[in-house]
C-alpha cells in the first residue's frame, strides 16, 4: 500500500499559484526526494501534507485515509511527523526535554517517554548531549535534534524539510548515513533538499518541482540526465554541495 498519496493537489494563495496539480505516491519503506529551485513550492506542498493549511483542491491520502485539512497534532498521532526548515527547538530546555515532548505522543507516562527519548538520542548518536541547553547547540546538532524530536513520535512517515541546509560537507555525509539508517526501522521518508549530492545519495526516487508543477519524476540517475531538470537548474551542477 502507498503510505502517502498526493492526488492532483493545488494550492493557491489568492492569485498566487504555489502548487499546480501535483501528484505523487510514496510507497512503504521508500525514501522519496523532492527537489526544485527556490520558490518552486516544495515547502508549501509539505505544509499541505503536514496539516498547516489545507490544499485548495485535490486530495492527500495517508495510509489510505483522506487527511485534507486535518490538524498537525492529529496527523502526528496517526503517524505523520515533520521537521521544520527553520529549526524550532524549545531553546530554554535541555535536549532530552525536547525529545521527551515528542515521545509523549504515544504515551502518557514520563518514565516511558524518557526511555524512548534516550533510545532515539542513542540512535542519532546524541546521547552525551542530552543535558545541554537546546538553545546553545550548534546548527548541526540542532538539525539532528529536530529529527530526534520527530522520531520520538514513532512516525510511519517522516517529512524532512531541508535538514542539510547550513551543514558542512562532513556533517552532510553524517546526516545522509543517519537518514538511510532510519529506513531500517521501517520508516518511510519524504525529503525536501537542495544539496544535490545528499538527495542523490539518499533517494530511491526523486520528483522535481518547478513553479509549482512537477516537471520530472524518476530514479536519481534518470533525473540527473533529464533535460528539463537541467534547464530548470541552469547553472547548478550535480555534485555541488
Amino acid at each position: 500500500m502507498n503510505i502517502l498519496e498526493i492526488q492532483q493537489v493545488k494550492k493557491y494563495f489568492g492569485g498566487i499559484k504555489a502548487v499546480e496539480s501535483f501528484s505523487l505516491n510514496v510507497g512503504e519503506g521508500e525514501i522519496v526526494g523532492l527537489i526544485g529551485p527556490n520558490g518552486a513550492g516544495k515547502s508549501t506542498l509539505f505544509n499541505c501534507v503536514a496539516g498547516v493549511f489545507p490544499p485548495t483542491s485535490g486530495d492527500i491520502l495517508f495510509l489510505g485515509e483522506k487527511i485534507n485539512g486535518q490538524k498537525p497534532w492529529d496527523l502526528c498521532h496517526k503517524g505523520l511527523a515533520r521537521t521544520f526548515q527553520i529549526v524550532k527547538p524549545f531553546a530554554s530546555r535541555t535536549v532530552l526535554y525536547n525529545v521527551v515532548v515528542g515521545a509523549f505522543a504515544t504515551t502518557d507516562k514520563r518514565s516511558e517517554a524518557e526511555t524512548r527519548a534516550l533510545e532515539v538520542l542513542r540512535h542519532l548518536r546524541m546521547e552525551e548531549k542530552k543535558d545541554l541547553r537546546a538553545g546553545n547547540l550548534t546548527i548541526a546538532d540542532r538539525k539532528r535534534l529536530e529529527i530526534a524530536k520527530a522520531l520520538a513520535t514513532q512516525p510511519k512517515l517522516l517529512l524532512l524539510d531541508e535538514v542539510m541546509a547550513g551543514l558542512r560537507p562532513t556533517e552532510v555525509d553524517e546526516m545522509v548515513a543517519i537518514i538511510k539508517h532510519l529506513r531500517e526501522y521501517g520508516m518511510t521518508i519524504f525529503v525536501i533538499e537542495h544539496i544535490m549530492r545528499a538527495i542523490m545519495a539518499l533517494s530511491d526516487r526523486i520528483a522535481v518541482l518547478h513553479f509549482g508543477t512537477k516537471i520530472a519524476e524518476g530514479t536519481p540517475q534518470e533525473i540527473a540526465r533529464d533535460e528539463r531538470v537541467i534547464k530548470a537548474y541552469l547553472g547548478e551542477d550535480y555534485g555541488a554541495a
Binding site: 498521532h77 521544520f84 524549545f90 530546555r93 515528542g102 514520563r110 517517554a113 543535558d131 520520538a152 513520535t153
Partner: protein
C-alpha cells in the same frame, strides 16, 4: 548523601520552620502579614500555571478570586451552606468562566490577550458593582457582603484566632506547590512549555496547544477561586473592589514575574520578597508616603525585567546548582 536526599532535607527543614512559626510569632499583626504572604504565594503559584507554564500574560486573575469569594459567601449567607462546599462550587464556576474566557482569547497574540483578560475582568467587576441581585442571589453592588462571625469552628471555616487560618493557607500553599511540581513533570507540563515556546513545532509533535492552555486555565482559575473563599472567611467582608480589582490582578502577575514565572519556586520567592515590602511600607509610611510600596514594586519590576527577565529565582537557582555540583560532582539534573 546524594543531591535528591539533600533537596528533600531542605524541604523538610523549610516545612518545619513554616509549621513552627506561629509558635514563635505571637503578634497578631505579624501573623496577619504572614498569612497574606502565603495567600499571595498561593495566588501567584496558581497564576503560574497559565502565566508561567502556558507562556501567556493573564492580567485579570482577580476575577476568579472574586467568583470564589462571592459564591461561597452567598451560599453560606443565603442558604446556610458550609463555606467548604461553597469553596468547591465557586471553584467549579470559576473554572467554567476561565475556560469561557480562554476559548477566544488564547488565539490572540500577547498584548491583545493581556488586554482581553483585563477587559473581561473589569467588565465582570463593573457588573458586580452595579447589580444588587443576580437572579435570586444577593450581590449588593458596591456595598458588598458582610459575613457575621456567628459560628466558629472548622466546619464553618470561621475562627476567632489567626492561627487556624495560618495553617489552612499553609496547607493550601503546600498543596498547590506540590500540584505544580507534579504537573511540571507530567505530559501536560511538557506540552504547556512546548506550546508556550514554539507553538508550531509543538503542534507538529502532537501537542494540541489550545487544549493544553485551556486545561491550564481551567486548573488555574479553579485553584484561584479557593483563595477567594479563604479571603472572604478571613476578612469577613467582600466587595468588588476588594476581591476583584485590577490592582490585585496586577500584583499577582508582578510578584510572579519578579520571582520568575515558569519556575516552581519563583512565585513563592517573589511573594516572600515583595509582600513584606508592601505590608511594612504601608504600616510605617502609609500616612506620610502613601503608595510608596507601589513605587518600589514598579522600580523592582522594571529592574528585574531589564536585568533578569527570567526572574530573581534565576541567579539563586544557578548558585544552588553550583553548590550542588561542587559538593556532589557531576551534573545536577535540571529540576
Amino acid at each position: 548523601m546524594n543531591p535528591s536526599l539533600y533537596r528533600k532535607l531542605l524541604l523538610i527543614i523549610a516545612a518545619l520552620i513554616a509549621l513552627g512559626l506561629p509558635l514563635v510569632v505571637t503578634s497578631a499583626t505579624y501573623l496577619h502579614i504572614l498569612i497574606l504572604l502565603f495567600l499571595y504565594a498561593y495566588l501567584t503559584t496558581s497564576w503560574n500555571l497559565v502565566g508561567g507554564f502556558a507562556g501567556v500574560l493573564p492580567l485579570g486573575h482577580a476575577t476568579f478570586v472574586g467568583i470564589g469569594a462571592y459564591t461561597s459567601t452567598i451560599l453560606s449567607l443565603q442558604y446556610g451552606i458550609s463555606p467548604w462546599i461553597g469553596m468547591l462550587v465557586g471553584a467549579v464556576l470559576s473554572s467554567i468562566v476561565g475556560v469561557i474566557i480562554g476559548l477566544p482569547t488564547f488565539k490572540m497574540r500577547g498584548a491583545y490577550f493581556a488586554l482581553a483578560t483585563i477587559a473581561f475582568a473589569e467588565g465582570i467587576r463593573v457588573m458586580f458593582e452595579n447589580i444588587d441581585y443576580l437572579g435570586p442571589f444577593q450581590i449588593n453592588g458596591p456595598r458588598g457582603l458582610q459575613i457575621p462571625p456567628l459560628k466558629t469552628g472548622l466546619a464553618h471555616f470561621m475562627f476567632a484566632d489567626k492561627e487556624p487560618y495560618y495553617y489552612i493557607i499553609l496547607a493550601m500553599l503546600a498543596g498547590v506547590l506540590a500540584l505544580t511540581w507534579v504537573i511540571s513533570r507530567s505530559k501536560l507540563g511538557y506540552y504547556l512549555v512546548a506550546g508556550g515556546e514554539e507553538p508550531e513545532a509543538a503542534q507538529s509533535l502532537g501537542v494540541n496547544v489550545a487544549r493544553a492552555k485551556l486545561m491550564a486555565m481551567a486548573m488555574s482559575s479553579f485553584l484561584t477561586a479557593f483563595a477567594g473563599t479563604f479571603w472572604a472567611q478571613f476578612t469577613l467582608y467582600i466587595h468588588p473592589k476588594s476581591v476583584m480589582s485590577l490592582d490585585i490582578s496586577f500584583e499577582i502577575a508582578f510578584i510572579a514575574l519578579i520571582g520568575g514565572r515558569g519556575s516552581i519556586a519563583g512565585p513563592v520567592l517573589g511573594a516572600m520578597l515583595l509582600r513584606p515590602v508592601s505590608d511594612f511600607s504601608r504600616i510605617y509610611f502609609g500616612s506620610t508616603l502613601p503608595g510608596l510600596h507601589l513605587i518600589i514594586f514598579g522600580v523592582v519590576l522594571i529592574l528585574v525585567m531589564l536585568f533578569q527577565p527570567r526572574g530573581l529565582q534565576e541567579p539563586l537557582t544557578r548558585a544552588y546548582r553550583r553548590v550542588m555540583n561542587g559538593r556532589f560532582g557531576g551534573k545536577e539534573a535540571a529540576a
